[in-house]
């Protein structure tokens, strides 16, 4: 089969399809931003995009590079200071508002959806240092999340010495023991190879879907822990119009795609 879309476009489309009607979507940069903009402009126009810098309900004309980009600032409903965003995030939890979904990234993820964005190796003398939490820790603590991560063995890791953004921590009781809300946590992981979800009982990651150009075997080979593959099904491809829209309207300069 010849593909009329790139792998990045498939991933962005998959991200966009995770966004539901009327959802409030916390998004940063990268592919989640491309997917969220696709959702806002085409698939789910009633969703509202917000960012940790405080910009509420933005809909950029040109793709932003950062969460504080003028491109989002110029086309939003309200440019709140970041503390208002924090208040919104906290109150969504306290008011049992289930409309909120957050996208986070990082350097590595483990089977329980814990994400590292701080460092690899000893925290005090790291082999590689990353930018740090940013807003991701708060999102992972208080909001249901979608984790977006390139699929490599060194990123889907068996051990996570430093957790920047807590997932289910060490299993079903992890968040309770840690002092975090138990009714929030990672829901989905989207990689360039497929889509993973978390078992409701064990809270372990399992393969939920793969792309027409990947296979469960390939995904298992690129994952640093063993994962249930038995429930995986092939995911739908974007149609021609959607691909053209992504290419011509959302990211014509190939900033992310």
């Amino acid at each position: 089969m010849s593909e009329s879309y790139t792998h990045g476009e498939m991933q962005a489309y998959t991200i966009a399809r995770l966004i539901k009607k009327d959802q409030v979507v916390i998004v940063g940069t990268g592919l989640p931003l491309v997917g969220a903009i696709l959702a806002k402009k085409r698939l789910q126009p009633t969703c509202r995009l917000i960012v940790e810098s405080g910009l509420m309900d933005f809909n950029p004309k040109e793709i932003p590079r950062s969460v504080s980009d003028n491109r989002s600032m110029a086309h939003c409903a309200v440019a709140c200071p970041p503390i208002r965003y924090l208040g919104y995030q906290a109150n969504a939890l306290l008011n049992h508002n289930d409309h909120l979904i957050g996208f986070i990234g990082g350097a590595a993820v483990d089977i329980y959806g814990n994400v590292s964005a701080t460092s690899i190796g000893d925290y005090h003398h790291p082999k590689v240092r990353f930018p740090g939490s940013g807003g991701a820790n708060g999102i992972a603590s208080f909001v249901n999340t979608v984790i977006v991560m390139p699929h490599e063995k060194r990123r889907f890791v068996n051990e996570m010495p430093y957790i920047t953004s807590p997932g289910w921590l060490d299993g079903p009781d992890g968040r309770k023991k840690g002092g975090l809300p138990t009714d929030r946590g990672p829901q989905v992981v989207v990689s360039n190879l497929g889509v993973m979800k978390f078992d409701t009982k064990t809270k372990k990651m399992y393969l939920w879907g793969y792309y027409p150009f990947t296979s469960p075997e390939e995904i298992a080979e690129n994952t640093g822990f063993s994962m249930d593959l038995s429930q995986a099904k092939v995911l739908p491809e974007p149609d021609e119009d959607t691909v053209r829209f992504l290419r011509e309207k959302i990211d014509p300069d190939h900033l992310y795609l």
Binding site: T29, E52, S53, G54, L55, K61, E62, R65, S66, V67, S68, D69, N70, R71, M73, A74, H75, A79, C80, P81, P82, I83, L86, Q89, S116, T118, S119, Y123, H124, H125, P126, K127, V128, R129, F130, P131, G132, S133, G134, G135, A136, N137, G138, S141, F142, P161, Y162, I163, T164, S165, P166, L169, G174, R175, K177, G178, G179, L180, P181, L255
Partner: protein, 304 residues
């Protein structure tokens, strides 16, 4: 010390260059959403301890390179909080609160690991002795809380779009943490794109965001945010940020960059002269778009 702005947005970078030229050192930084502001000071060896939550020029340097090198080489004292925590601490400082109870960072590495241990903290009188304390919520006993100390800021530096000589500031669009910093700091220095009269800025007080009574000094520095974006005025200078990224790859290249763009110019006016008027014009925001677009793009869009 803390800076206003957000990664590549409205960062007081002309002021950072002036700090480098004047030679201030041993700074204790409250980073917040940082970019090349703290990265430059770290790369120039001016930072003693860096309290950080995020340091990057997104899509130019996804991790600020001198910050990364300093931590990897062990040449800097550092502490990690989440951005939510640092923003809350700035807000608490602005409110004059003694500490803030939160549920942030629980269960994460930021709870488990202290970048600066208590003994180290005791040696630095500007820092609280604890990163945080853990306590049960006195109102809801089963709830675990993390008590954050509130930073006392000596100096905040903010780049505003418009200010008047008495310190009144008008920040256009997202004010980020800047209003909190101005209220919290012992001394707040404002650099501004446009200096206007005290009378003019009072004609529309609903647009003003920082009262002059919280500001110690105002410096008129047009393009004082370059290469970051300043909403309503100019876009980020992509080429400059890419050059900065390349320079950050080694200490030698970085020192060369500082020599050329910081120490090699006498002041901000000379820096602007070196950038050149055409380069600055190519960054100008286009009304309606809110960022820079070329004439060709506008013409093309209008012909559709």
């Amino acid at each position: 010390m803390a800076f206003g702005g957000f990664t590549t947005g409205r960062k007081p970078l002309a002021a950072v260059c002036e700090i480098l030229r004047q030679g201030q050192t041993d700074l204790i930084g409250e980073g917040g959403p940082a970019g090349s502001d703290w990265d430059m000071l770290i790369g120039a060896g001016r930072v003693k301890a860096y309290i950080n939550c995020y340091t990057a020029n997104p899509r130019f340097s996804n991790v600020s390179r001198r910050f990364r090198a300093a931590i990897q080489e062990g040449s800097i004292l550092f502490e990690d909080y989440s951005q939510d925590a640092q923003m809350t601490m700035f807000h608490a400082a602005a409110m004059g609160l003694p500490y803030v109870p939160v549920r942030m960072m629980l269960g994460s590495g930021m709870e488990k690991e202290w970048g600066l241990c208590e003994e180290e903290r005791k040696k630095i009188d500007k820092l609280p002795n604890q990163k945080f304390l853990i306590q049960q919520n006195p109102f809801i006993p089963e709830e675990k809380l993390l008590l954050l100390p509130v930073p006392r800021l000596d100096t905040a530096i903010i780049h505003a779009q418009i200010a008047s000589p008495d310190g009144t500031c008008r920040l256009l669009s997202d004010p980020f943490q800047d209003v909190d910093l101005a209220f919290a700091a012992k001394n707040t220095i404002v650099t501004c794109e446009e200096l206007v009269s005290n009378e003019w800025i009072r004609r529309e007080p609903e647009k003003n965001t920082i009262p002059g009574i919280t500001v110690s000094a105002v410096v008129h520095l047009p393009y004082g945010g370059h290469p970051s974006q300043v909403y309503g005025y100019y876009d980020y200078d992509k080429e400059f940020y890419l050059e900065y990224d390349r320079a950050g790859k080694s200490d030698e290249a970085f020192q060369q960059f500082l020599k050329e763009w910081v120490y090699g110019v006498k002041n901000h006016a000379e820096y602007l002269e070196k950038l050149g008027v055409n380069r600055l014009l190519r960054l100008k925001n286009v009304p309606g778009y809110g960022f820079h677009v070329s004439d060709e793009t506008i013409a093309e869009e209008e012909s559709k």
